[in-house]
Symmetry: C2
Subunit: 423 residues, 2 copies
């Protein structure tokens, strides 16, 4: 379901030369013997996820969809990016929004928080608060405001409208949920935030948005099966992982993930967390960047074409659009667009992509990797997640770096807590 | 209104050493003798803009606001980024949206276009199509669909609801507008797309969003006056321009523009076009990148803190938030957040910024420039635009590159037209 093309990438090493390393690291990953092996619960997740909890996610989602106009998701990092990315990719940006999904708990911006609180004031609201420990400051701060709002608005019924996704037993949020009687879902101990979209963290909001989460799990499983073999001639995820290493060896320190669909722009943000947080350690790693074409050809295109050669592009093509349009003709043709009459708009988009590839590669000399995904369905989303998970783990293990921790994220928090006077 | 702090930037050259070059280039720019001097109409724009047309923009905007639920802006690049950035910055992301502003004509995505057309179907609609020549393919394609929709829905009245912003006399869009009897506004010949937010291109949609465009012009004028003197001790725009050059000399090829307000994220996109398209030529330039903190500290923070040292950060701080919240206390304090009770949420945001600065600079060794803007008002928006315009012109002229053309953008178009079979 995902194909990789490397012929426009100007690779100066042979991908197959990495086969031995890839085989060894693949074995380590599958046997949970790799660096960071405390956090590889996602690897077997397509086979091991809790079916009973999964059924409960669907029931709860159906209940929430009945009850609310607005579903407020309170979380940060992996506890918001995955769900938002999935919902935008699968539903699109202007789909019928009932309920509307709003994200909060991901910022200290007082203006943003105040505007959201004002926006939801007279609407029917449900809330999903997501935090493993319950001590993530952005999320705790917003949730106190939300909880007071819900308690005041719904009194005794508030607890029917608030769901907590948190640790199975410990932590501040678990304690609040138990005391208040909220329904809870579990964040597994061995799956980190940036992998959590395939757990209740992502699946509950995605299901509330009306998306078929069974299809996501079936895509996940399909990718698991397709990627069982570590042979670089067949395993596109690992081949992509190797290409990234080769391109950084050639001096490219920035990867621009490019899509031709505006509804994929949050997927790029999710991907940035996955790769940036996994790889950016010990002074190593490729800076993940993104753009949406042809839109951003009119902003970043000039730099890619003729600017300093610091980046390579990874093009995430979508084979089949969710909707297409046949371009109409016009009797007068004053706008001179009749040469496209009867053509599919998606075909025009593909020709733009082809023309850009030629421009950036042949004229600009920019290496391009191409990943082609079948469509923007729930199943393809699940497949793509697992594909990038495995690609990311491999590309970082090839650097001899632990892909699953994020020690650097703590530094700002420590300083902030001191400044806030937290004991 | 904008302050620059450089003490966390690890500059290895003295900013003042550039004074002579800056003085010379400043004179060239003000006298229209610099590289690309055909496109410096924006320099004197705060004094020379057409007052009569400006008054007409306000009248038309008021009329449109009465008539529509949805105001559809059809344009790409500078013909959408500036207006969208301004509206989000000034109004926020969840402000009362009447009318709602929707952008189209900036993509070939058939799904996006189909969803927007479906979304507006039963609403009251007005349209602003924006293109200098009328031959921008993304915009022409969407506008043909919009025009057919409007003609069918409103018959003879459609022309009252469509406004064209285009060349004063020539081009395909001007011809359509004249034949159909649309009201038109002029895109000046000597102001390029990425500078056009201060012309009718940006001002009409911004005014339709209910924003005081007089305040924007007064901010623009204030910046013009503040930046009259090219002395680097006083001219923060030029000092910022020089710092960028010094940092690239030190090996930093990526600049990450960081804000702590989600509603500033489109400003970063607009800034990316301004700097990327102006500077990315002849194999030169700094790749413009962006992030919103503390949100993205939970995705890109790890890379900035500990990854490969390829970037410097430019922090765009907002001194006063549009709205603030006093954090409430809670009798039970189960969430352990009472240490913040009675504190302003904006103060917490500022402490997060301070803690992050210390983390990235002192621990991470990442150079940080800090720009502080008074607030997110219309006046500050105008001021900031002019500040970045002058900073951008200077930083690119210091590279001995023409800041005002974009030859590389044509390459993909030429290939695309061939593939589309356009004669």
């Amino acid at each position: 379901m995902i194909k990789l093309e490397t012929k426009h990438a100007f690779l100066k090493e042979n991908v197959k030369d990495y086969q031995e390393s890839v085989d060894r690291l693949h074995q380590q990953l599958m046997n949970k013997e790799c660096l960071g092996n405390d956090y590889v619960g996602w690897v077997e997740w397509p086979n091991t996820y809790d079916q009973e909890e999964f059924a409960r996610i669907k029931q709860t989602a159906a209940r929430m969809r009945e009850m609310c106009d607005v579903f407020v998701v309170c979380g940060i990092g992996g506890s918001y990016l995955g769900a938002r990315a999935a919902i935008e990719m699968i539903n699109g940006l202007y789909a019928n929004k009932k309920p509307e999904i709003i994200f909060i708990g991901n910022t200290f911006s007082s203006t943003y928080i105040a505007q959201v609180m004002e926006y939801i004031k007279d609407k029917e609201v449900c809330v999903n608060v997501i935090s493993k420990s319950g001590t993530t400051t952005e999320t705790s701060l917003a949730f106190r405001l939300l909880k007071q709002f819900m308690d005041e608005k719904y009194k005794e019924q508030a607890k029917e409208r608030i769901v907590a996704t948190t640790d199975k037993a410990r932590g501040v949020l678990k304690a609040v949920a138990d005391q208040e009687g909220y329904e809870t879902f579990v964040i597994p101990d061995d799956i980190g935030g940036r992998y959590s979209v395939i757990t209740p963290v992502g699946l509950l909001p995605i299901a509330v948005a009306g998306i078929d989460i069974d299809a996501i799990m079936s895509g996940l499983k399909k990718a698991y099966e397709d990627l069982a073999d570590s042979d670089l001639d067949h395993n596109a995820a690992y081949a992509y992982a190797v290409c990234r290493r080769i391109l950084q060896n050639q001096g490219y320190d920035v990867e621009m993930l490019v899509s031709y669909e505006l509804q994929m722009s949050m997927i790029a943000e999710w991907w940035k967390q996955l790769f940036g947080e996994s790889e950016g350690k010990e002074g190593k790693g490729i800076l993940p960047d993104s753009a949406t074409f042809s839109t951003d050809l009119h902003s970043l295109g000039q730099f890619v074409q003729e600017g300093k050669k610091v980046l390579f592009e990874t093009i995430l093509m979508i084979d089949r659009p969710t909707q297409d349009i046949t371009f109409p003709s016009d009797a007068q043709n004053l706008d001179q667009m009749n040469y496209l009459s009867g053509k599919s708009v998606d075909w025009v988009n593909k020709m733009a992509a082809q023309g850009t590839l030629e421009a950036h590669v042949n004229t600009g000399g920019v290496p391009n990797l191409i990943l082609t995904l079948k469509d923007m369905s729930a199943e393809s989303f699940g497949y793509m997640c697992y594909f990038f998970f495995r690609a990311c783990a491999m590309t970082v293990l090839l650097l001899d770096v632990n892909p699953f921790n994020q020690p650097g994220v703590e530094v700002y928090k420590k300083n902030m807590f001191r400044l806030l006077g937290k004991n």
